[in-house]
């Protein structure tokens, strides 16, 4: 925290507002510097922490945005220190794969002894350890989102993890998912889209999730005897599996109206035959199986892929897809939907597409175009989005300067609000539109979480609200500091009136603050961003 303050002070000192190379506030924006800072902190970050609106406004919001676009240059020691508390990060994929294999072995053994039904929870120590790691990994996402100085980077990690969705609870993805997020998504989240796409295509988690690991050229001869038991008693599958091919085109790249047909899906699947994984006991690394690859002629989107190629034709296809106009449009649209409006303005999408083409898919440049464009700052798009469950929980924690611990409690709140981390079963990821998560039950749960957090009763998050809302017996001062510190000055007259009424018979300053902060965070203004 201190280092950020120093850094911002340094930036301010080095480039005094209004004489820098770039304007310190967005052009043509009706927003005040404070409003601009509040807006940017809600969209590029998981909401402001105490004092952050003032700091960003003072340093110039565009400068803050540009700094966020270069996350490598932002010191993030606080999070690095916290990460060391998460045991799951000390295990690499090989370790987790062996743990998984051990769980499976123990489970088979117990099943053989008739001790458990196959779908009963397994309470063996090794299985419990696996579950503890899974919960810890979900919580890690919350901790990073809450505490990282590289806020935009964490937002983009969330965006891409959701875009290239895998399901944490599907078989081997129970142990492949942490590796996927750490080593596939995170290194590429602010790099080139092409690199990210290739990384996901080669990732064991995705190969398993969308079944490509068992996609085999029709008639291919197995190089070794494969018993039916080894495939979970499901019999040996031969032939191509189209799942990855279809989702690659429909979700990861071109989009559903991207101009491809079923014959393209089939030939894409043929191109990816042989892209597989080693057995968990051997570390579950990516492995290309020559014997399983279909070496015949293929044609995708009217482009010939001549016979006789191996893994190289898959890479060629991925590069082609990564920079296809339909892909740039599809993903630019999704980014505008995430950062600007559930119904993304055409102008935003056009700006993003142009930047994509200029930079050959440099994600930072696409984002820069969106944040510098007029749509991002248009009054109609400010407060136009409702926070997702993760955004709500993390922004609430940040608003009261809460420090989440390593227990999975906050991640469990995110789950209760409707979007458990890494657990969206379908490959499309959680929808970006508010209809998907705004409903009566989830709203009540938001109110409950807000009240508990404000009262310091939310397990897993130690709250220190003094820095944002000093306890006071004076309702007007309390309301004013909540409006400025938590709601960014958006408190409505009605909210002011309701909170004032509620405070009328409460004399205890700490109790009054807890109630007022709880109502503010659980109330309608805080749900928006």
């Amino acid at each position: 925290m201190k280092s950020l303050v120093l850094r911002l002070l340094a930036i301010v000192a080095a480039w005094p507002p209004a004489v820098g190379a770039q304007p310190a506030a967005p052009l043509q924006s009706p927003l005040t510097p404070r409003d601009s800072a509040w807006h940017a902190l809600n969209r590029l970050a998981y909401g402001p922490r105490p004092g952050e609106i003032e700091r960003v406004a003072a340093g110039g919001v565009l400068r803050w945005i540009d700094a966020q676009l270069a996350p490598d240059k932002i010191d993030d020691e606080t999070v690095a220190k916290r990460e060391r508390e998460f045991d799951v990060l000390k295990y690499d994929r090989g370790d987790l794969a062996r743990l998984y294999a051990e769980v499976q072995r123990a489970r088979q053994e117990r099943k053989r002894m008739g001790e458990i039904a196959a779908d009963k929870p397994d309470d063996s120590p090794v299985a419990m350890k696996g579950r503890r790691f899974a919960a810890q990994f979900q919580q890690l996402a919350v901790v990073r989102a809450a505490l990282s100085e590289r806020q935009l980077y964490e937002v983009m990690v969330d965006f891409w993890t959701n875009h290239f969705n895998v399901y944490f609870a599907k078989g081997a993805d129970r142990f492949l998912t942490p590796d996927y997020v750490e080593h596939t998504i995170r290194p590429h989240a602010m790099g080139r889209f092409e690199d990210l796409l290739i990384a996901t295509a080669k990732s064991p988690a995705m190969l398993f999730y969308l079944d490509n690991w068992e996609s085999v050229a029709p008639g291919a001869a197995l190089p070794f005897p494969l018993s039916a038991r080894r495939r979970g008693g499901q019999g040996v599958r031969t032939g191509i599996n189209e799942n990855y091919a279809r989702e690659l085109l429909e979700l990861h790249t071109l989009g559903v109206d991207g101009g491809y047909g079923q014959h393209d899906v089939i030939d894409v699947a043929r191109i990816f035959t042989g892209w597989s994984i080693r057995r968990p006991q051997q570390g579950a690394d990516f492995e290309f199986h020559d014997w399983a690859h279909d070496t015949g002629d293929k044609q995708v989107l009217d482009i010939e892929f001549e016979r006789g190629h191996g893994m190289d034709e898959g890479i060629r296809l991925l590069k082609l897809l990564a920079n296809h106009p339909a892909t740039t449009h599809h993903i630019s649209r999704q980014l505008c939907q995430r950062f600007v409006n559930d119904d993304p303005p055409d102008g935003c999408v056009d700006d993003a597409v142009a930047a994509w083409q200029r930079s050959r898919g440099d994600i930072r440049e696409v984002l820069r175009a969106i944040f510098h464009g007029p749509d991002f700052w248009a009054a109609a798009n400010v407060r136009a989005k409702v926070k997702t469950p993760l955004e709500f929980v993390v922004s609430a924690a940040r608003a009261v300067d809460a420090e989440p611990d390593t227990t999975p409690r906050l991640a469990q709140v995110v789950a209760r609000l409707g979007e458990p981390l890494y657990l969206h079963v379908a490959p499309d990821g959680y929808p970006e539109r508010e209809e998907a998560w705004v409903n009566s039950g989830a709203l009540l749960d938001r109110m409950n979480a807000a009240v508990a957090l404000a009262a310091g009763r939310l397990p897993g998050a130690s709250v220190s609200p003094d820095s944002v809302v000093p306890a006071t017996a004076d309702p007007e001062r309390l309301i004013a500091s909540i409006d400025a510190g938590i709601l960014g000055g958006t408190m409505s007259d009605n909210t002011r009136r309701v909170i004032r009424n509620q405070l009328s018979d409460i004399n205890d300053a700490v109790q009054a603050r807890a109630l007022a902060v709880g109502l503010a965070i659980g109330g309608p203004e805080f749900q928006r961003q």
């Binding site: 039904a117 779908d119 409702v386 789950a415 409707g418 508010e434 109502l519």
Partner: protein, 420 residues
């Protein structure tokens, strides 16, 4: 239309409630062998309860083809002995631990559909459950579930927060989608939480005022629903609920979920579509025959369903319970006295409107020549034909192809679980 209908239903429900205080009458109504003429008045609001048996139930030991010697030949250790089977029609019979369901069968309120399942060949629990809940076998990218799509397309009932409820901590795939639906882990804990009732009421009022005065768009509509739901539940008071007619729900999640569903139904909370699930059906090892692992799960199922029917009394006249499971299990027992992942299974349909007392669906037999991939019971009824029939004939759904995209449900293929 919807408002007048709702007021009508609510007042009708009150009348019923006072009627419902006579347990003898209810017991008679629930188990009598005659079928009362369905009332066209307040009672007629139909309700569907879907019960997912996760893990793939062994349809052959649930609805036993005891008339087929092949059944006994293929399952020397786990077949239900002839003497234990509760015979239904001379060929099929109930597992003995389902015997409690026999009176419902005899009063035509329970039907079974055999050889029902997915046209997709997958034997992965994950994929098959996904397909059965999305309603689109073979298509993974379907964003929503078929129960939710039903709610999207039939907007007449959209006006109550308890319209579509899943009992469990998270919303299942089957109810995922844009139509409002609730996941309720514990009915008693629904709403604002505070140590004392007075504090809770105060908090509820405060948030209600906040949202009534400042919320816009979807936040406004959803919050109104939320506070209406809280009001409804306050009236219901789940903490004080006593099942009627001595209904005895088993302990455990399934019994609790069905008890809470019965409670919402009787409270006229606006419930139209409910979902619950129960695990424990993946019996690869030591499955058991008349007794054992599977028998214990079936006993819990039967006790839950009978308690539910008894508790509902004459409210069962408008309720259909539909069980489902992602696939069936191998015809032949495996080396561990269990069964492996198969293809078709059996499903149950229970309730007043059911055309019961029959095993429905075309039975392909157990002859290896007629089996799927030489080993499993073949699917002769696409699960979507059964689900579509229930939606069309019970809930009055009209646009079935929007609910099951890529599929054209045809009444000619409906298995006949409900009268046309």
């Amino acid at each position: 239309m919807s408002i007048s209908r709702r007021v009508f239903v609510k007042s009708g429900g009150l009348a019923l409630f006072s009627f419902g205080l006579d347990p003898l009458f209810l017991a008679r109504a629930a188990f009598a062998s005659y079928r009362p003429v369905p009332s066209s008045t307040a009672l007629s609001r139909p309700i569907l309860v879907c019960l997912f048996q996760r893990g793939a139930v062994d349809g052959l030991n649930m609805i036993v083809p005891h008339g087929d010697p092949l059944y006994y030949r293929e399952r020397p250790r786990i077949a239900v002995p002839e003497r234990d089977v509760v015979d239904l029609d001379g060929y099929f019979g109930l597992h003995p631990r389902l015997a409690a369901l026999k009176p419902l069968w005899d009063s035509k309120r329970l039907a079974a559909i055999h050889a029902v399942g997915s046209p997709d060949a997958t034997r992965s629990h994950f994929d098959a459950q996904d397909y059965m809940e999305s309603g689109t076998p073979g298509v993974k990218a379907t964003p929503d579930g078929w129960l939710n799509r039903y709610c999207q397309h039939d907007r007449e009932h959209q006006d109550t927060p308890f319209r579509a409820v899943a009992f469990g901590p998270e919303l299942p795939r089957i109810l995922a989608g844009t139509a409002p639906s609730l996941a309720i882990g514990d009915l008693q804990a629904f709403g604002l939480r505070a140590p004392q009732p007075a504090a809770r009421d105060r908090l509820t009022r405060a948030f209600e005022e906040l949202y009534a005065g400042s919320a816009t768009g979807l936040l406004s509509a959803s919050s109104q629903e939320a506070f209406e739901a809280v009001q409804t539940l306050k009236r219901v008071d789940p903490t004080q609920y006593q099942p009627a007619n001595g209904a005895d729900y088993p302990r455990g999640k399934l019994g609790k979920a069905m008890l809470e569903i019965a409670q919402l139904i009787k409270a006229d909370a606006g419930l139209q579509v409910a979902f619950a699930d129960v695990t424990g059906w993946d019996t690869h090892v030591n499955q058991g025959a008349s007794e054992g692992q599977l028998a214990a799960r079936l006993a819990e199922l039967a006790q839950t369903l009978t308690a539910f029917a008894r508790d509902l009394g004459d409210r069962l006249e408008n309720v259909v319970v539909l069980t489902m499971s992602e696939f069936g299990r191998t015809v032949r027992e495996n080396g561990n006295s269990g069964t492996d992942h198969g293809h078709a299974t059996a499903m149950l349909v229970l309730g007043g409107p059911v055309n019961g007392g029959r095993v429905l669906g075309a039975w392909p037999g157990l002859d290896p020549a007629n089996r799927f991939e030489g080993r499993d019971v073949a699917v002769t009824t696409d699960f979507r034909d059964l689900f579509a029939e229930v939606l069309a004939r019970h809930l009055g759904a009209r646009d079935l192809s929007a609910i099951f995209p890529g599929f054209i449900p045809d009444p000619a293929r409906f298995p006949g679980a409900l009268s046309a």
